[in-house]
Symmetry: C2
Subunit: 205 residues, 2 copies
DNA sequence: CCTTTTACATACATACATGAATGTTTGATT
DNA sequence: AATCAAACATTCATGTATGTATGTAAAAGG
């Protein structure tokens, strides 16, 4: 059955995205054919190629879908705890973790980018996009550490950049392992104690 | 040209492993065909299927190749700094990092498992194997934290298990990001400061 | 020296996946 | 009301990966 109106077309598009998100997340990107995505969405392959150029464009669209709410949330959190940089850093970190744990789209996307998609030349644009937003975030958080140093709450011998890279690595690693086996540990508890312990370690005594 | 002697066959096998390791690491597992591996090793596909059942068996063999030296090193490090659990933990962590940075086989394998191989049902045995050795290591390191608590060097309110999970996540995350862009930061520096800061954060003042 | 394996190469059968080309039905436009 | 274009469905042409079956020459074994 062909959907005719613009609203119907948008529905089809969303159903395709949902199907792709689910199948990619369950069975891996390269192990999922366009045919399977189409079938799961109740359409034929023709529908996919009408809405998306190819499989990469599909993943790209999946990223678009979550990037907007993520950006909004980041902008909001940027304005809180302005004079308490370590607290803001903590809140921003834990909020991302909370989002990955509770927003299904976000979780599926991180899962796909982390475990269901090979980082190769073909997928480079995807991962570059993923990293660009991240690097911005790193630069911004480095300034938080520097500010904390100026305020005297963080030790002078701490390298702000390496510190942020480590904290982000900690969170990435938690995602990485938690997505492999969500039962193995509680994500929020680990992230909370992990970030707190780390911040404690760089704080002045 | 057919290699006839047993020694020659072993050479062929090693060349196949080297070729697979390189191609998988460069172009991704599912994006590399058995044909390409064979060509890179200077043989035909028949040679591969003679030595390995399929692509999974190839990856499995790649793991075998590095698991032995890794195990040996772990056993050795287990015996050092017995009465200084935090120091032993630190050394064990940093040694793994050092190994990933300096041993090409180790680095390629971590890269493959981390970025060049989708975690799907087909590859489950691979990843299960990867995780089993890891979980053993976690259990062992948890005991190090508990010992440090008994010795009074680590705060009582620290959860040993979550702590180790976080520290391991930190290292995993560093691998994950460093392999994506080795120029972006110095692995050893980040790991050193990261682990030290974290341990500082859980230590008694 | 004869037989049996080993260690591959070659060939084949099958199965998908992709992309593009084309067809068709209906909403949208004027 | 007529035309256009969107939103798909259908079909085809092609490439490519896999697994297996078979062939073969030399090494290993007795």
């Amino acid at each position: 059955m062909v959907r005719r109106t613009k609203a119907d077309a948008l529905t089809t598009r969303l159903e395709l995205l949902d199907a792709a998100e689910r199948l990619f997340s369950e069975r891996g990107v390269s192990n999922t054919s366009m045919m399977q995505v189409a079938e799961a969405a109740g359409v034929t392959r023709g529908a996919i190629y009408h809405h998306f150029e190819n499989k990469l464009a599909l993943i790209y669209a999946l990223m678009e879908r979550v990037s907007l709410p993520v950006d909004e949330m980041r902008d909001a959190l940027r304005k809180e705890h302005i004079n308490q940089p370590l607290l803001q850093l903590r809140e921003r970190c834990l909020h991302i973790v909370h989002q990955v744990q509770n927003d299904p789209h976000m979780q599926a996307l991180v899962n796909i980018l982390c475990h269901k998609c090979e980082y190769v030349e073909d997928t480079l644009p995807i991962h570059l996009r993923h990293l660009s937003g991240r690097n911005e975030c790193i630069d911004e958080c480095v300034k938080l550490i520097e500010l904390a140093q100026q305020q005297g709450s963080v030790r002078e011998d701490i390298d702000p950049r390496l510190t942020i890279i480590s904290i982000f690595a900690l969170i990435d690693g938690l995602f990485y392992n938690w997505l492999l086996d969500p039962e193995y540990f509680d994500l929020m508890s680990a992230a909370g104690s992990g970030v707190d312990n780390y911040l404690q370690g760089i704080s002045k005594v």
